[in-house]
């Protein structure tokens, strides 16, 4: 894998990419508590798996980190700057964060190469630059033969690889992946996981991956286990299973 390396575009005032303190997220006028005071720090270039059962708050946590939603209480910083005071959350999502979704979320009426270009509209690239960049990324994920295929003509694994290429369109420093292998067969899942791991290794990107699959979490450098909106474990993924049993 040989992707153009992209160092963080934001300032490096803090050693942490993300710092969360007392993060609370309530829904339905406080009836539902998705996060109940989460504290965490994630360092630049870490590969972190967030694990937990459905409803444990892991996706909500990912939403907060990606500035897709705001916490009800607590503080959340990105490289030392509060994410809650962002003047332009869209610019943060466009340039600092790459999203990979469980359901891929490719636009069905656009080919693979067009899907990869979608985030670049906010990056002031010319048409030719967008095209070249998308082609480069699709080559990097091994889909140079499928650039003009529509999502319906791609396998699940190929779709997710297109989605990963799309997430890298604006050279983000952080990749947030929500159950990226959740809709894939085991072979495709392994391919995608290998791709994510090599991206993390080659580009030294911060990779935060939400999963409920312990075997995937085991590939990470660090695992955070969520339960009932709280981080109940934060450490070596190898110790995660012992923790679960305990």
């Amino acid at each position: 894998m040989n992707l153009t390396s992209s160092p963080s575009k934001a300032g490096a005032a803090s050693r942490y990419v993300f710092e969360a303190t007392g993060l609370i997220k309530d829904f339905d006028d406080g009836q539902v508590h998705a996060l109940r005071g989460v504290d965490l720090q994630i360092e630049d270039g870490e590969f972190v798996a967030i694990v937990g059962p459905s409803g444990s708050g892991k996706t909500t946590l990912l939403q907060m980190l990606g500035a897709l939603d705001r916490p009800s209480e607590g503080t959340l910083k990105y490289r030392g700057e509060s994410l809650l005071d962002l003047p332009d959350p869209a610019a943060y999502r466009a340039h600092e964060i790459g999203f990979v979704f469980q359901a891929f979320h490719l636009l069905p009426t656009f080919t693979a190469i067009e899907n990869v270009q979608i985030p670049m509209f906010e990056d002031h690239k010319s048409r030719a630059e967008r095209q070249d960049r998308a082609l480069e990324l699709l080559k990097a994920v091994g889909l140079e033969e499928r650039v003009n295929h529509y999502p319906a003509k791609l396998s699940g694994g190929e779709r997710q690889r297109v989605a990963i290429a799309r997430s890298l369109a604006n050279s983000p420093s952080v990749l947030l992946a929500d159950e990226p292998t959740g809709n894939l067969d085991s072979e495709s899942a392994n391919h995608v996981l290998d791709l994510l791991r090599s991206l993390h290794a080659d580009r030294r990107m911060t990779l935060i991956l939400v999963t409920h699959d312990m075997s995937i979490a085991a590939c990470a450098q660090r695992a955070i286990q969520m339960k009932d909106g709280c981080a109940v474990f934060d450490g070596d993924p190898a110790k995660l299973s012992i923790h679960r049993i305990a």
Partner: protein, 371 residues
């Protein structure tokens, strides 16, 4: 891929719905083109007829009516000798059903005046004198009535011989049945009555001079109203009513188009909620989403406008053949009207997209991580 491609794909994802919406807008725009084209055609056709006759000022009484109301012929005597008046011609015009034609322009013209000069005979001759029971048919009128030289035409209870077929150089002139004034006054019972005085001014008089002369005439003739040729149609109450009805009908049709586009775009936004959330998650600003929706609806309007103009032109050609309009007026389908119609369609598109665009800006980006 450009942003325009993104917009076009948005419309192509539901081709049937997009097609039906286009049809909805285009019907409204076709109504604008057809009805407004016809009503403006009324002015341009009659103005062209005036120009062909060399008329620069018309004295008439259009109050509350499409056709001018008769007034005494002696009115002419009060203005004929005004400085600047070169020649006058008294005319009685009526719209009448003649034989199989529902509505024809029948124009009785003062014998020997300049209003006969523009008639170029295609066949036959002019009447020998003002007492001959004869008519000259414009070329279109002859076609509509299916008459040739020597045939008779029945106007009211009188049978008149077709002695000539003439090209008057303008649509209205060619669609007219033309006869000497006294004959038409006698047939219609409007003895010593006329409905217009055509006035030629002295050569070289400019627009300001013509308007000044009109003002002078209007001081002398309370029973009529002098206006520069053509303007007397546009300012008549009858034309205003027709124009207002045309716009009213068109706007109703456009309103249906607005509702159609709004519905389509709203459905589109609801269906694409998660897609919009994904675009937001990928870094698109809400303003870009709003622009995307507005451009989609504007493009719908633009395409609907073009289709509507084409439908309108076809519709006008059909309307022209309607018995009530045949030979009476030439629709005014100038580029201006087409551009106005397309501009209205684009405006309609943007207007219809405002609420859906606002709704799209309210989509929560967190929806991207659901499902």
């Amino acid at each position: 891929m450009t942003f325009l491609d993104v917009i076009i794909r948005g419309l192509k994802r539901r081709p049937l719905r997009t097609g039906l919406t286009l049809l909805g807008i285009s019907v409204g725009i076709a109504a604008v083109v057809a009805l407004i084209g016809l009503s403006r055609g009324l002015v341009t056709s009659w103005t062209a007829g005036m120009r062909q006759r060399g008329t620069e000022i018309v004295v008439s009484n259009f109050r509350g009516s499409l056709t001018p109301k008769p007034f005494p012929a002696f009115t002419r005597d009060r203005i004929a000798n005004l400085p600047g008046v070169a020649a006058t011609c008294t005319i009685l015009v009526d719209l009448m059903g003649i034989e199989n034609a529902e509505l024809m322009i029948v124009s009785g013209r003062e014998w020997g005046c300049f209003a006969w000069e523009n008639l170029k005979l295609v066949s036959g001759r002019m009447p020998n004198d003002q007492n001959e029971h004869a008519v000259v048919l414009g070329t279109n009128a002859a076609d509509i009535l299916k008459k040739k030289i020597g045939d008779t035409v029945q106007i009211e209870t009188e049978e008149l011989t077709v002695v000539g077929i003439a090209n008057g150089g303008a649509f209205v002139e060619n669609g007219s049945v033309i006869l000497p004034l006294p004959l038409l006054q006698q047939i219609t019972g409007n003895h010593d009555q006329i409905s217009a005085i055509d006035v030629r001014v002295t050569p070289g008089m400019n627009d300001a001079g013509i308007r000044h002369l009109c003002d002078e005439m209007n001081k002398l003739i309370p029973e009529g109203h002098a206006e520069p040729a053509g303007e007397h149609i546009a300012s008549s109450e009858g034309y205003r009513v027709i124009n207002a009805m045309s716009w009213g009908t068109s706007l109703l049709a456009i309103l249906v188009g607005v509702l159609g586009v709004t519905n389509t775009m709203l459905m589109s936004v609801f269906e694409r909620k998660q897609e919009i959330a994904v675009l937001l998650a990928l870094g698109w600003r809400p303003s870009r989403i709003v622009r995307m929706i507005l451009w989609e609806s504007a493009l719908l309007g633009f395409l609907g406008g073009i289709i509507g103009v084409l439908l309108g032109i076809i519709g006008v050609q059909l309307l022209k053949m309607a018995p009530a309009l045949r030979g009476m007026l030439e629709p005014d389908l100038r580029t201006n009207l087409m551009l106005e119609a397309i501009a209205i369609a684009v405006f309609v598109g943007v207007l219809s997209g405002l609420y859906p665009a606002w709704r799209s800006s309210r989509v929560a980006p967190s929806l991207a991580l659901h499902g």
